[in-house]
Symmetry: C2
Subunit: 662 residues, 2 copies
């Protein structure tokens, strides 16, 4: 079972930021980075509460009508993991050694640190900790402190340091920290601008212990945060037992067994572990791009949830899927306001944010990604198809209608069909184009699904006919000469990026070239047309041509890219390529493949690695609304086994090399 | 000669902001708004020094590589026109009446105000003032103050109030005020961030006068500002005489006589007056979009200079034209830096700014307007063609070479020819398009002119061949089916704006709709393809089709639009339309046609009205490099007479209805 335990040896870089993020613990409500127990400047501790953000006015160099008005930034709350330790007035501030073992099977982190004072007194600090899934308001710790080579009076003090954002004068758009202006009143803390409150109940230790050499002391500690000022009593051992039961239940359905590659096995488990941990459970929160493990992307929710995370939840943890979809339903009124503000009908969900309001301060790669609407509709329909939970869809149908109304008013009929202009597709190295293939496919599905629901519920007859017409006549660009699917109207007319002349250190391109330089070239950040093919397969020869054309143009500067490429490669029988894409994706954060795991896990990529296994190696497609599988297992994986839950029934699937070769 | 005098009666709105801007005085170095002599909250006094700006870091909601780094804002300096007046401790703060007479023939403003105290004491204040063109460091005033209905001890105090920017929480991108952080040391003032200094020498009055009813006092006052701490003595009457001589010289060449419409006659003179007043003379300053009459557009220099103002100067005041072109030559090193920053060769001039650095905080309508390079090259070539000053072009040839190098590296050869992608043309209601017709035409000329110069000077042989090839193969989009010039690759594919459904109060569109909504439609802010046709005429039938197609799609939300439409209409023999476009343009600020004359004059439109007369009604075109004229005089103008200076020779042209009807 050691491939259920993540240790420091599994990480290719042990920089503290990466360790903090990968060993972070969370329970959908609260997240805690695995920082060191002694505070030090290079560490970046943090704890977060899902949906707890501070807002700040967005300042534009040049403002314009309809721009998003406020930033929302998930608040970095406290350092819950530091102790103040001293003996003979000397502090233990020299880290001698550390060991960490994240028991993913139980949801518990075991750590052991040796610290020394300047004069050489050494302590061993053992910490067992977890963010409780039974009581989501609780982060529970059990500390054991042992005097290794001295006797003396040890002073021990716990302290939940309130953290402030680090100033950030970089222009890396992927991180953005902003100080929250918190008001502390008794055990309540409130954000000054967004007006959100949390209550706290922190136990604490502030004691002196006479320790003999080799002797140890031990104590439990609880840091509790809640939206209500009410905390039920908790018992450490009880919570720990409940945690193990909950994780056992989780893995029972969600685990995937991979034989033949221990690193991949551990990588995929780490991914599923984090997915389970960071998903909002309350219907009013969602899943940040970095989960609850770091401040990257300000803790914002994106389309990542619908397109990269929800398939995993829908197929294995449908209750969590329902909670995440309920968040969108809750935010429908704000999405309607936003569409009206932009002078369109229906609802437009925000490209990014927490509250449900648009917060993207760069509309060409923000608001213009209208495909968010289609992504949300897609997720609802996938949920219905897999779970059969028609009641929930009946409750949520306005989401589908209103997003369809948006497309109907945003697009227009021309000689070519129903066209959708001035959008940005998933590939953010191209912006503000006409008829992005992915967007048009998602809009088509959204419109058709709305028409289907309207028919089912016997309503909106005329509108439904219009929606169906738009869906039927959707314009999908195709180059008859090159036999290629056109990513957008002008995609194939552009100059090809000078890859040979681009030094390695100039990737990701977005940090080294002006957007105009990037946009004017044929160069992709991530899967775009290929993602559409993954969802809506065209004939294989076409997928092959498009793959062969677009993949070499793709930098994979986005962590959302490789898994999708792997899936198409699987379909095409290109096992070696498929395996490599999958492997890069499965262990991306373990090897810090994107170079910024310290900002937090790449949640969408983690979900993408699940897609890679199930849609790729296991070849999931739908036939007549039912999942069917095709064995695309690459040679280096002997056997893969997993479960999915379809209409309440858990089914186990096993794929082997032998079967494949039959 | 009364049509040389602007009075309040000529303005359709007498709001103080408009009056301040239209009666403002300037001399290319210094500008002073015609504010009231008693300070009041609704007034917006201001004085400015050309090129004297403060910089501030641009804050982006989301930053990216290569974005402009600093705002530059022309500093609103002092209120030079207010007096503090009191009798018996009562202040004169009630304006009873005012008269203003701007003697444009002499460059002198005569004003008369009656003010009263709360208890009814009345004063008449007469002010004669001018910004000296003989001594550009001097703003000269002659005050006469008369007790109308009282006797008493009048206290009179002049005070140059230092002005601070008004806060601006609107999102109107056309205005932007920012407080300058000025450091005052003795008679030197320095901007804290941009580090620019000015020296001042202000005379002042602080005196008590025993006045009998009907009696008056009189005094002169000088406000002087200079980049050097050196002020030569001045004499009011001498300066006044010199002013009259200078203006006589100016009008001798630059005046245009229009018979049949007094308002138009005055309108065009007001326009030429302001053009003469606000143009930088020193080769290191240029001409702000609002001249030196207001804070609109932060006092920035745009392409307006090259395309709307320079033709007037080139044809009638070539020395001023040379000064304005010298500014660009001076800034070439910064333009080379900018091109390198964006990873292109050659030089890229800034879309807007003062120092020569790019300051546009919204690149889709800023940096992306690469046509600025072609506009500058065009102005140099027009200057050479009209003046025959080849020496200056030899000195400036690097401007042409470096801009050509930019195009060569920014564009690319495809099957279709030499293409230029991801640019924004003059029409800012469309952004980031491929092969904007205007841009491609300007680039073509730029490349060809560079090749021509290289040949003339026997250098850069291989490059010149490349430039010529790119010019020869420039791709110009044309719709074979509709027989229309394509504004850009996708211009004709878009949905047409719903003009019928757009309420009048929703114009200008940019203040009422999100950019995406605007960009995705066929709707134009201003002349784009038609401007290209004005410069590079195609056959008349084509111009007619393009006019008929594009004009109805044009909102003329930009003040740069109507004059150009008028010129094409003239060519097409559509006299009525031509006259209306010209008239709207000629008196635009007198009737506050754009609704924001208070921000300052619309300088480019003023230059545009000159273009309307000379390129439109007089039908100027070039044949074999020589200007030729065609009489397009509309029916309501009996006679038009003007002079132009070609290769040093002043020639007079007169057009009459009789001749036209022959």
């Amino acid at each position: 079972m050691h491939d259920f335990i993540l240790t420091l040896e599994d990480l290719s870089t042990k920089a503290i930021g990466n360790v903090e993020a990968l060993f972070a613990q969370a329970n959908g409500f609260m997240g805690v980075r695995a920082s060191w127990p002694v505070r030090t400047p290079e560490a970046t501790p943090g704890s977060f509460v899902n949906g707890f953000y501070e807002s700040h006015e967005i300042i534009y160099g040049e403002n314009a009508y309809g721009y998003a008005k406020e930033h929302e930034t998930m608040v970095k709350l406290f350092d819950f993991r530091s102790l103040e330790l001293a003996v003979y007035g000397q502090v233990f501030d020299r880290l001698i050694s550390e060991e960490r073992a994240l028991h993913m099977d139980q949801g518990i982190l075991h750590e052991s640190f040796v610290y020394a004072t300047a004069v050489g007194h050494e302590l061993q600090i053992d910490l067992e900790s977890f963010t409780s899934h039974a009581k989501r308001d609780t982060y529970a710790q059990k500390w054991t402190i042992k005097a290794l080579n001295f006797s003396g009076n040890l002073s021990v003090k716990t302290a939940a340091h309130h953290l402030v954002a680090e100033s950030d004068d970089e222009f890396d758009p992927r991180i953005r920290e902003a100080s929250a202006d918190l008001i502390f009143e008794g055990n309540r803390l409130t954000t000054r601008h967004s007006g959100l409150s949390l209550y706290s109940e922190f136990s604490s230790v502030d004691q002196q212990f006479d320790l003999a050499e080799g002797e140890s002391i031990s104590f439990e500690n609880f840091y509790r945060l809640s939206r209500e000022n009410h905390f039920e009593p908790v018992d450490y051992e009880d919570l720990k037992k409940q945690q193990a039961v909950i994780f056992e239940e989780f893995w029972k359905v969600s685990d995937i067994l991979i034989e033949g590659d221990v690193q991949l096995q551990k990588g995929i488990r780490l991914n599923l572990y984090h997915l389970f941990n960071s998903a909002g459970r309350d219907g009013v929160t969602n899943f940040g791009a970095k989960g609850l493990t770091g401040v990257g992307y300000e803790g914002h929710y994106f389309w990542d949830t619908e397109m990269y995370l929800l398939p995993f939840f829908i197929f294995t943890q449908p209750d969590i899927a329902k909670n995440l979809l309920t968040y969108r339903l809750q935010k429908l009124p704000l999405a309607k306001e936003r569409a009206a503000e932009l002078d369109f009908k229906g609802a437009l969900f925000p490209w990014r944010g927490i509250s449900g309001r648009e917060t993207s301060a760069y509309y060409p790669a923000g608001t213009a990604q209208f495909h968010i609407n289609g992504d949300i509709a897609y997720a609802f329909s996938l949920y219905e198809k897999v779970t059969g939970d028609h009641d929930f869809i009946e409750k949520s149908k306005e989401v589908i209608y209103e997003t369809a109304r948006f497309w109907q008013s945003f697009g227009f009929f021309s000689e070519r069909g129903f066209e959708i202009h001035e959008v940005t597709g998933p590939d953010e190295y191209t912006a503000l184009v006409n008829n992005n293939y992915y967007t048009n496919k998602m809009a088509q599905h959204n419109l058709a699904y709305a028409a289907e629901l309207a028919k089912r519920f016997g309503e909106h007859v005329q509108e439904a006919a219009d929606w169906q017409e738009a869906a039927d006549k959707i314009y999908l660009g195709y180059d008859q000469e090159c036999l290629l699917t056109k990513q957008d109207d002008s995609a194939l007319d552009k100059q090809v990026w000078d890859f040979a002349g681009t030094p390695k250190e100039n990737y990701p391109l977005l940090l080294h070239y002006h957007p105009i330089k990037i946009y004017k070239h044929q160069v992709l950040k991530q899967a775009d047309t290929l993602l559409a093919h993954m969802l809506y397969p065209v004939d294989l020869a076409q997928q092959a041509r498009d793959f062969d054309y677009y993949e070499p143009l793709t930098t994979h500067d986005s962590s959302l890219s490789k898994a999708i490429h792997g899936i198409i490669a699987s379909r095409l029988g290109r096992d070696e390529a498929a395996y490599q894409f999958f492997a890069d994706s499965a262990i991306m954060d373990m090897v810090d493949g994107q170079g910024n795991a310290s900002h937090g896990i790449h949640a969408a990529n983690m979900g993408g690695s699940w897609l890679g296994l199930i849609y790729g190696f296991a070849g999931l497609e739908f036939e007549n609304g039912k999942p069917v599988f095709h064995n695309h297992l690459p040679a280096s994986i002997q056997k893969m086994s997993f479960k999915i839950k379809v209409k309440g029934q858990v089914e186990t699937y096993t794929f082997t090399q032998e079967e494949r070769n039959v």
